[in-house]
Amino acid sequence: MSGKLVNEVLVIGAGPAGLAAARAARERGTSVILLDSSDQLGGQFWRHLPETRPAGREEILHHGWSTFRDLSDALESDSGCRIIRSAQVWAIETSPEGPGTVHVVVGESDGVDRGRLAFSPDTIVLATGAHDRTLPFPGWDLPGVFTGGAAQALAKGERLAVGRRVVVAGAGPFLLPVAASLAATDARVLGVYEANRLPALLRGWLPKPWQLLGAAGKAAELAGYGAGHLKNRIPYRLGCAVVAAHGTDRVESVTIASVTADWMPIAGTERRITADAVCVSHGFTPRLELAIAAGCALTSERFVLVGDTQETSVPGVYAAGEITGIGGADLALAEGVIAGHLAAGGAVADVGLRSAVRRRRTFRGFAARIEAAHAIRLGWPEMLTPDTIVCRCEEVTYGDLCGTAASTRSKSLRALKLSTRAGLGICQGRICGRSVEELLAARVGDGGLSDAVTTDRRPIAAPIRLGELAVGHHNLPSDPDSMKGRK
């Protein structure tokens, strides 16, 4: 949008990328509207105790806490930045004249009679982040099985440990801060089980091993705060996975097994561990629904396609953070600065952007190494049994998926979704969608799935009640203070 007059930038998401974007746009003097579905700033990464309960040493639980405080303090005290909390964007309508119209409900989460707003800004920055990707395994639907993100959110946002004896498993460097947060909330972490093996980790990390040391050092520092466990080191095991969770109505134990480099469980290596909670994450899924609704093209790896300017394929729509590739908060911050600056009419070559451009290059390299080391391997379906639930909402099993694929001989994801109901439940395929796609693609054989359909498209991006839909929207609220949502 360089060269075009920009009066108003709308930023969606107030995590690291969105906060950085809002601040950068404000530094160019452009008015900013910053929306977040939560009633606090910081996103999932800087989830913290509510403002009614400030903590004296919140920084212990966070990476880059002072950066968060600087960004949020600057934006909150800036009359040119309108922050609307508890603002759920539920649709984006494309427009030939501009980046589109953003439809929002404002009020407590899943409330009734929330106010509706619609914005048609000059530019939009999408910074919607990502959520955990957890692969299905037998028993993963039992209460007591959580994603790593759930353990983090409850530990950091409420100081609640999801269990007393907790197993952390899956893949990726995120497992370490999950374990650390649990330990710092007085849970006993029985072990961290990373499915990938040392050769993969070395290939991924060896070019810059000091970055791994940095992450591990932070985790050790955090774990040191676990009251009563000061001397207990948390075991970190490679090439192991939780292959089953057991119990009736709640987790009572888990089975850990060694897995091959492709993540296939190795028979004879199983052992049971008594645990009351298990936190499993295998990486992250970008939250793409708003980008797709805005018309943004995706990369072959299914992230939002952006150029050096962070602009998407839709003029005036920018993207930053995890939706452009999983890279962590430092990359999100750098991309956010660039996106905000450009969305406010600046150029990549501007001197003030040099540091952000350099940091973006550095941390993209870091992200590539994380992917090489910790990515999901193709053998994971070997963990499944015919009666393993794959789609949690519609309770569709692996056996159902295989049976329907075999009996219908369909190669259409759309048809197979309709005939199995996988991915059609209330989460709209957010949890199982990519796993369902991979399982079906493997079953239908040559050429994989034939239709160019994915499970990422959700025209209604968040639930809205019919009564709220019927009322209509305001283009601008008459009293901004009434729209801030309940604290």
Binding site: L49, R53, A55, D110, L160, A161, R250, R392, C393, C427
Partner: protein, 108 residues
């Protein structure tokens, strides 16, 4: 009661003293700390599973904790389908667990 709140006096991050909040869950009183989510209050009260699935009647509770999976839906003060992990508990909230059975089909 596996899930539990860290006692604020033991907390290395030194939060401000909590003020209590009391809700009811299926008629049973549960107390927590102001600012907690409904999910957090329910979990700390000992209930891991508080919704039953439609097809198999299985218990579900908090899974993703960040509003994505919709497994923790509850009825709050007469309004259905509220994600317990996304709603802060307000004193006096009346929470009812949900079990949406499939249509039996015997009417046809």
């Amino acid at each position: 009661m596996p899930a539990r709140l860290l006692r604020f006096g033991d907390d290395p991050i030194q939060p401000a003293p909590p003020s209590p909040v009391t809700i009811t869950v299926d008629g049973v009183s549960a107390s927590g700390v102001a600012g907690q989510s409904l999910a957090g209050v329910i979990l700390a009260g000992g209930e891991l599973g508080f919704r039953r699935t439609s097809a198999r009647g299985r218990l579900r509770g908090v899974f993703c904790g960040i509003g994505v999976c919709f497994d923790c839906l509850v009825e709050v003060n007469g309004h259905r389908d509220v994600r317990a992990c996304q709603r802060r508990a307000a004193d006096g909230d009346v929470v009812t667990s949900q079990h949406d059975r499939l249509p039996s089909g015997d009417a046809t």
